[in-house]
Symmetry: C2
Subunit: 298 residues, 2 copies
């Protein structure tokens, strides 16, 4: 089963304790599409500017990713400049230039409508809502969000949550959304807001997946050298949904496994800058690391 | 196999989001002894003052805990007053009165010397070193420490670590000890300091157990109502060492299981103030929660 992925395609300038990179490929839809294309076909929806490099376009084309929904607009591609200190859980933003992304108005090509899964990256909830309306009922919708939308556009976000099957959310943002300090109760409150399932992401501490009856906790894979954590959350979602879509099921037992795949995929992704590592990952590497991961958590 | 437990026996005045308690039973050796006595015989070494209540003494006597090494001295029992905000990972200390604990000079009764395991609670490393000398070689020594000793008495602590088989340490303190921001590399550096095994405690995020060849990661059990986190670390160590001593082995495969038992025991302990919950826990409850825990992490 294929996945529609909607989100940002960007250039990032990054500084981490391991070095710096200027204007490298980034964006939630980019990380998600490259990651999920290991498991299933991805239909990308996004916007880039005139400066978007053909090499980057070719990278996406070389994967199992449809680009009919990736439009090019006059102007520049979304640009983010950020830095990570030794606390790799949190980025310091130095510059955000929305550029063509400011007018992003996602349109879903008809050819995408055979997808059963939809991933809504971290964009304005009004746009997430628009996509949900466009694709119609009956698909599995997963979405991500952030503190900006929780604080500034809560009503829009609450509407989206009612139509969402699975919410991916950082722990701090989950607590902000619910006003609840206990993580498990936070999860339960989010489930009351609409989603059937919530995955609370805890960065280097792993993740918690909950539905109304089950809880699954997964530690992060122990990575000794985190070169660049950018994209870890979207890559986690890519592994999760890619695996589940590949299995064609969202039973909790499948999702327990999907969490492990997401954990392992993101642990590989952060081993290099931008999508450098992600674009070389093979299924053999994922399987090898899954074996190691199972041993560590057994 | 029995365990010698050395540490504080105290009265605590506590405030948490769920209420307040005045002068309730506390101390690292107290939590450890009550917890570990579920699994094996414990030989307690500590000091109390003239104010120490017979009811509290009787509670310890009612467990499988020898009190020959618990001495009573003129003066008052160690007293700590603390508070937890909604971040239950960190206590705010309002008052510390060492009282008789200031002159604590642990003496190991001869009758204790058949113990194969030694737990050194979080006391001055010079005293931990003294106990290690007293008990002699050939026993399994586990110890705990804290930022105070890492900052103020590092040389003493480094000597203790050379004689320690297993170090229990909070993640922040482990990083302080090694100057290393990455948790796994922190663990490796600690193993270079002497211990064969290190257990890095991450509070609500669980724990990581490492030896030179293996890593085991265990999420915390998801507790929805943490009434009082005091003693969680010592209770975790109690479950860990109590289980391992009961098995008579410290193979990594046994320790993987021991981490789970420690995790589950401490998750029960924090469900009430002081030792209120701990003293009523049964093996049946532990087994039930272990089943639930295995499901959550499977």
């Amino acid at each position: 089963m294929s996945i529609i992925a909607v989100g940002s395609v960007a250039y990032d300038s990054l500084k981490t304790p391991y070095g710096e990179r200027e204007r490298v490929l980034g964006g939630s839809a980019t990380y998600f599409s490259i990651g999920a294309s290991l498991f299933t076909h991805v239909n990308l929806v996004g916007v880039v500017g005139e400066d978007f490099d053909d090499a980057d376009l070719n990278l996406l084309k070389s994967r199992d990713v449809s680009l009919e929904g990736l439009v090019r607009r006059p102007g520049k591609t979304f640009f983010w400049k950020g830095e990570y200190g030794s606390n790799l859980n949190e980025a310091i933003t130095h510059d955000t230039q929305l550029n063509v992304f400011a007018e992003f108005d996602p349109e879903i090509p008809d050819s995408y409508l055979d997808s059963d899964f939809v991933f809504l990256g971290n964009i304005h909830p009004a746009l997430q809502g628009k996509v949900i309306d466009e694709v119609g009922k009956g698909r599995f919708v997963a979405c991500d969000t952030m503190n900006l939308w929780i604080n500034e556009t809560r009503d829009d976000l609450m509407k989206v949550l009612k139509e969402t099957n699975l919410l991916f959310v950082n722990e701090g943002e989950a607590k902000l959304l619910t006003g609840e300090p206990n993580t498990i109760r936070t999860g339960r409150k989010i489930l009351e807001m609409g989603p059937e399932m919530v995955c609370i992401k805890r960065g280097e501490f792993g993740s918690i997946l909950m539905d109304r009856e089950n809880i699954a906790m997964a530690p992060a894979f122990p990575v000794e050298k985190v070169i660049d954590p950018t994209g870890a959350g979207d890559t986690f979602a890519a592994g999760f949904l890619g695996y589940a879509a590949g299995q064609g099921s969202l039973d909790f037992s499948v999702c327990r496994e999907a969490v492990k795949v997401g954990t392992v995929l993101s642990s590989l992704e952060i081993e290099n800058f931008s999508v450098e590592r992600l674009k070389t990952i093979t299924m053999e590497e994922i399987d090898r690391r899954l074996v190691e991961y199972r041993k560590i958590i057994s």
